[in-house]
């Protein structure tokens, strides 16, 4: 599998799919090209039932997958200035925002939620890749700051789940500044002795990777996720060389020392709970010990 199968083929498929696959009831795996019935794929958490290829999981499904019994509470995020630069390319930025909102039903590209994982309070900030490619602008920065503050207030571990092409270009320098801002936010969580875990999902690139996403105490990734700083095409056009097989994939990052664990989607919850249990020195799995500050507060 290379970038061609990932990026070029889906586009071609989009063109031919209507005839080939009536009503999109069947979905073709981008890796093995086998057809999978949509219900089956959904039941299998968007993991190919033939080859195990991990397709992108919608953000809400992700949260359901991680929290105990799929239960979580979202927090309302403070509003930030919209279209801070009055940015216009072929389309005005407010029009793109409107489009993304009506497509996703979300205000911006991040959801901050809290709930229990293995009976333990956790805060999760998860990116919505379907909202403008999960790009990080001021609202996303605000979401991460809020998530960090919530984790500190609740004395809870913070798990961030990036799925992002990088900075939100339409917010220019202000999106670049979110790299510094989110770095301070996660540092504060770490200074409180709380675990900060990054669950890297496909794709995590650009300014998102080069800030909070590479500053976790522990980095967990899904198999095959693209993780990197520079985009594959930028690198290819700079060095005029074909990129090696598996370049910037989760396994490649693990082999090069940047990711601790590559865990299959079906094992993610179990893996994360075990890590948090061990980091917080709780009893064996299943035994719920009250968190220390909460006890102190009561």
């Amino acid at each position: 599998m290379n970038w061609l199968t990932n990026f070029v083929r889906p586009k071609i498929q989009q063109l031919v799919r209507p005839k080939e696959v009536p009503d999109n009831l069947w979905i073709k795996c981008g890796a093995c090209e086998q057809m999978i019935f949509h219900r089956e794929l959904e039941k299998n958490l968007q993991v190919c039932t033939h080859c195990g290829h991990h397709m992108r999981l919608p953000v809400k499904k992700r949260l359901e997958l991680l929290f105990d019994d799929g239960n979580y509470k979202r927090i309302e995020l403070p509003k930030v200035a919209e279209d801070p630069l009055k940015f216009k390319d072929l389309k005005a930025y407010p029009a793109r925002i409107k489009e993304a909102r009506s497509k996703t039903g979300e205000h911006d590209a991040i959801i901050v939620a809290h709930g229990a994982m293995g009976g333990m309070d956790v805060v999760i900030a998860a990116f919505d890749f379907s909202y403008m490619g999960g790009s990080m602008g001021m609202a996303v920065g605000e979401g991460l700051v809020a998530a960090a503050e919530l984790a500190i207030v609740q004395d809870a571990p913070l798990i961030v789940v990036p799925a992002s092409g990088g900075a939100r270009m339409q917010e220019g320098i202000l999106s670049l500044m979110q790299m510094a801002r989110t770095t301070v936010a996660v540092e504060k969580v770490k200074e409180h002795g709380l675990p900060y875990i990054v669950l890297l999902t496909d794709p995590t690139t650009g300014g998102v990777t080069a800030s909070f996403a590479m500053l976790g105490d522990i980095h967990v990734s899904e198999p095959g996720a693209t993780i990197g700083f520079a985009g594959a095409r930028v690198i290819e056009s700079t060095i005029r060389q074909k990129l090696p097989e598996g370049f910037q994939k989760a396994e490649y990052l693990r082999d090069h020392g940047m990711v601790d664990v590559v865990a299959k989607r079906h094992d993610l919850r179990k893996t994360l709970i075990n890590i948090l249990d061990l980091l917080r020195n709780r009893g064996p799995a299943g035994q719920v010990v009250p968190l220390r500050t909460r006890v102190a507060a009561e």
């Binding site: 630069l85 940015f87 999106s175 301070v184 500053l215 690198i235 370049f247």
Partner: protein, 317 residues
């Protein structure tokens, strides 16, 4: 001297001045008077042109090959410079220069990207595009400065971090992230000056200072105008439009409160009077440094962090 496209009319007049000088007096023509007249014309043109540079023109000025680079500032502003090399785990990266030096009588750590000025030095410094070992060296030097209580001065001038297989292999993203983290974490004064091009993550890796300044015609952006045009306009030819939309000039960044000060450049840009430009930068650094060194280390760190934590709640009014 290299001239930019929009400087052509000025270049023509300057060519005439050059010709006249070589002619010498004679033929009843008062050459000195004519030269003075033309020089006044050059100045007027420069003033007019540089007062209303477009963002795209500023991008070209910021990348001007004759613009003073990091090494010029090192030579012009610092004494007893002791370069320090290596990230202590893989290599030294000459795209980032750094070391101990004396600045106006005070020991400091100075770090900056160096682009090079001819083929040989450009290759040596990889056009100022650092690999992970460059950012890891920067981090090491900042930590050393923190340990010894020395202020840090960073000079930012890069098109961006190097996009290569080796750079990705060795964790470019992590290296940049850690460099930002270190900038924000140290308890000594950190002053950053964008002297030319502030290219994206590769620039902010060194630029989260207590004070961030930009030269009048420097730029600082999340992506190059060419890159942005390629993605959003689907045509690299629209770089001019992208440069406008991105708000990447020093003046825009000051309005957005992303930077603290714009340092004026000599008439016609820093490349026309390098020494004067370097001197002005030195005075600005000194002014801020003498105020910052009186602050408590914890306060320095807290204020720097609070400043960036609050950044990006508002936009242009």
């Amino acid at each position: 001297m290299n001239f930019l496209d929009f400087e052509k009319p000025i270049a023509e007049i300057e060519g005439k001045i050059e010709d006249l000088r070589h002619m010498g007096d004679g033929d009843g023509l008062n050459i000195a008077e004519e030269v003075a007249r033309l020089q006044a014309k050059v100045e007027k043109r420069l003033r007019e042109t540089y007062a209303k540079l477009t963002p795209w023109q500023k991008t070209q000025v910021a990348r001007h090959p004759d613009r003073p680079h990091c090494s010029h500032y090192l030579a012009g502003l610092f004494e007893d410079f002791q370069p320090l090399a290596g990230d202590r785990s893989f290599a030294d990266d000459s795209a980032i220069l750094g070391g101990l030096a004396r600045f106006r009588g005070r020991s400091v750590m100075v770090i900056g990207q160096e682009k090079g000025h001819d083929t040989e030095t450009r290759m040596k410094h990889n056009f100022g595009m650092a690999r992970p070992e460059g950012y890891r060296k920067a981090r090491r030097l900042m930590e050393m400065a923190d340990h010894f209580g020395l202020p840090v001065i960073t000079l930012v001038d890069t098109a961006g971090a190097y996009p290569g297989i080796d750079a990705e292999e060795r964790g470019q993203a992590e290296a940049i992230a850690k460099s930002i983290e270190t900038c924000l974490g140290i308890r000594v004064p950190l002053i950053s000056v964008v002297i030319g091009e502030g290219g994206s993550g590769g620039a902010i890796a060194l630029a989260t200072g207590n004070v961030v300044m930009m030269l009048e015609h420097s730029i600082y952006s999340v992506i190059s105008p060419e890159g942005c045009a390629g993605i959003l306009w689907r045509s690299g030819d629209q770089a001019q439009a992208a440069a406008e939309a991105l708000r990447l000039t020093a003046q825009d960044l000051l309005r957005l409160k992303v930077i603290d000060e714009v340092i004026p450049e000599p008439l016609g840009g820093a490349h026309r009077a390098r020494d004067a430009a370097i001197h002005t930068v030195g005075s600005a650094i000194e002014r801020h440094l003498s105020a910052l060194v009186t602050q408590d280390p914890g306060v320095l760190r807290a204020r720097r962090r609070d400043k960036f934590l609050a950044m990006g709640r508002t936009g242009l009014e």
